[in-house]
């Protein structure tokens, strides 16, 4: 009986592995087969000259260019907002916080990491409406609101990766500089942070990936189907994941659907690229680059 169960278990494990890989292959394969024919310059730039589009001389109306630029800008601004705050908070959690403060913050960050992104989107949306009614008519759900909301969304990733990579440093290394007369802060700056840099970077890359893929937050806070290149942080904008979502429910003809496939393929290539970068960083490239004498 036991013997039978053991064999069954092994078979099941192999089957699940096959099943999972099969599913991933199906998803990627389906996208590639459908998306590759759509992948060309026209997909991105429409009828506009690529060069003049890149130089922002001409607007692109029927290509993905504005959406790609929108997503990139969104990622940059959100990460710029989240990284300083998150890294500082992570350092505090790992190196200074004790007792009740630590327990309390730990709990709060756990919750923040668990809040569904749509709830954060809802928060951003109501924040915009609140500001609109009470402070300025100029404020609508917009690029800035989206960035702030996304920054909230990825904050826990950055805090946690900073905290964990600092905490897992060998106590012997922690004491080296202290024994040489380093103050707590000097120890953090000169010894601990460089050690933790690899870990922090993979956290940041994770955060970038999250910003690039999230749709729930931006669909409530100002992403629209057609807006052109983002011109002001108080304006509406286009983004790749939102475009895909929009196309999937609103496509009018086969050509538009094809653009959806193309956009999906571009988004997934972007995320795979980030994944590869994270993989290399985790191999401590950052760490070595920092210390090369």
């Amino acid at each position: 009986m036991n013997r039978f169960f053991e064999i069954f278990f092994v078979i099941w494990s192999w089957l699940s592995a096959l099943c999972l890989v099969g599913a991933v292959a199906a998803i990627l394969g389906f996208l590639c087969v459908k998306g590759f024919p759509a992948l060309n310059v026209e997909l991105i730039f429409g009828n506009t000259e690529p060069l003049s589009a890149l130089l922002l001389q001409k607007q692109v109306f029927d290509g993905l260019f504005p959406a790609i630029v929108g997503t990139l800008c969104l990622v940059v601004l959100s990460v710029l907002l989240a990284v300083p705050l998150g890294v500082a908070a992570g350092i505090y959690m790992a190196e200074y916080a004790v007792g009740y403060v630590k327990t309390c913050c730990d709990f709060l960050f756990d919750i923040l990491a668990g809040i569904p992104s749509i709830v954060i989107g809802l928060f951003g949306f109501t924040l915009a409406v609140f500001l609109h009614k009470n402070f300025s008519d100029q404020v609508y759900p917009c690029f800035l609101i989206s960035s702030i909301s996304l920054a909230f969304l990825v904050l826990p990733y950055i805090v946690r990766s900073t905290q964990i990579s600092l905490e897992e440093i060998d106590p012997a290394i922690r004491n080296t500089a202290l024994a040489l007369g380093a103050s707590r802060l000097q120890n953090i700056i000169h010894v601990l942070l460089p050690r933790a840099l690899g870990g922090i970077c993979s956290g940041v890359i994770l955060a970038i990936g999250r910003c690039a893929e999230d749709t729930a937050v931006i669909m409530l806070t100002g992403a629209v189907a057609i807006a052109g290149i983002p011109r002001s942080i108080l304006g509406q904008y286009e983004a790749l994941p939102f475009y895909i979502f929009y196309i999937s429910s609103q496509y009018a003809d086969q050509a538009e659907l094809m653009r959806g496939y193309g956009a999906s393929l571009i988004l997934i290539m972007l995320c795979t690229l980030l994944f590869l970068v994270a993989f290399l960083v985790r191999k401590r490239i950052a760490y070595q680059a920092f210390y090369k004498a």
């Binding site: 080296t176 500089a177 040489l180 210390y291 004498a293």
Partner: protein, 233 residues
């Protein structure tokens, strides 16, 4: 011969998580001598050293009672007292660990690191101090042509001397060494023993060791742990 007392512990007790490791240890260490601390492992020798430079304070849930006094500028001062700066104390009380722990930087930067921490920026001073420390540690001749190589590429014995040089660069008055030769081969260990005897002129050394013959060769005083009030000279 009249010698000044450099370090004095009074009723020092220490515990991790409520486990008593040191119990009422009162010892005196004479200036410019080598004192060896011997005893079985796990008995609290390393812990004792950590109480002399307050490095145990980073360990969560540890606690200490009693006093530690060190003679700085001619008078005995309580190192746990209010006026004592933590970083200042650690610059005057250097420490070398059991396993060599060079930082992942060049040899030069490793030795200059404590100077940088102390806020010394003058290039000349730094160069001079680094060279002097390397000379003292007997490493100068071996590394003077490759100061920019990584400190991690030295042999074990060289790495340990690098760490000694790094501890010496600030010219500490006390040097604590926690089994400095236990991870090295006999030849490297002999080099370091000789080095320690030479350092006696400048500072007070406390060496934790479990090699009795080593202790016999270099120590002026020996304390046996677990401490029971008896010491042999």
């Amino acid at each position: 011969m009249f010698e000044l007392i450099k370090i004095k512990t009074e009723n020092l007790s220490f515990s991790y998580n409520g486990n008593r490791i040191l119990d009422n240890v009162s010892l005196e260490f004479r200036e410019k001598t080598i004192t060896a601390i011997v005893g079985p492992s796990g008995i609290g020798k390393s812990t004792f050293l950590l109480t002399l430079n307050r490095l145990w304070e980073t360990v969560p849930q540890s606690s200490m009672s009693g006093r530690v006094k060190i003679r700085f500028d001619g008078k005995m001062q309580d190192i746990y007292g209010n006026g004592m700066s933590l970083t200042g104390l650690r610059r005057k009380v250097g420490m070398v660990f059991q396993a060599p722990n060079p930082l992942p930087m060049s040899i030069f930067k490793n030795i200059a690191f404590p100077l940088k921490l102390a806020g010394i920026k003058d290039r000349r001073t730094i160069d001079e101090n680094v060279e002097r420390a390397l000379q003292q540690a007997g490493l100068w001749m071996e590394v003077k042509d490759r100061l920019n190589d990584s400190g991690l590429h030295l042999s074990g014995g060289q790495q340990q001397r690098l760490c000694i040089a790094r501890a010496l660069v600030l010219q500490p008055e006390v040097l604590l060494l926690d089994e400095p030769t236990s991870s090295l081969d006999d030849a490297s260990a002999a080099v370091i023993e000789e080095l320690l005897v030479n350092l006696k002129d400048n500072c007070t050394l406390i060496v934790v060791s479990h090699y009795f013959d080593q202790v016999k060769r270099i120590a002026d005083t020996v304390f046996q742990f677990p401490y029971n009030g008896i010491s042999q000279q």
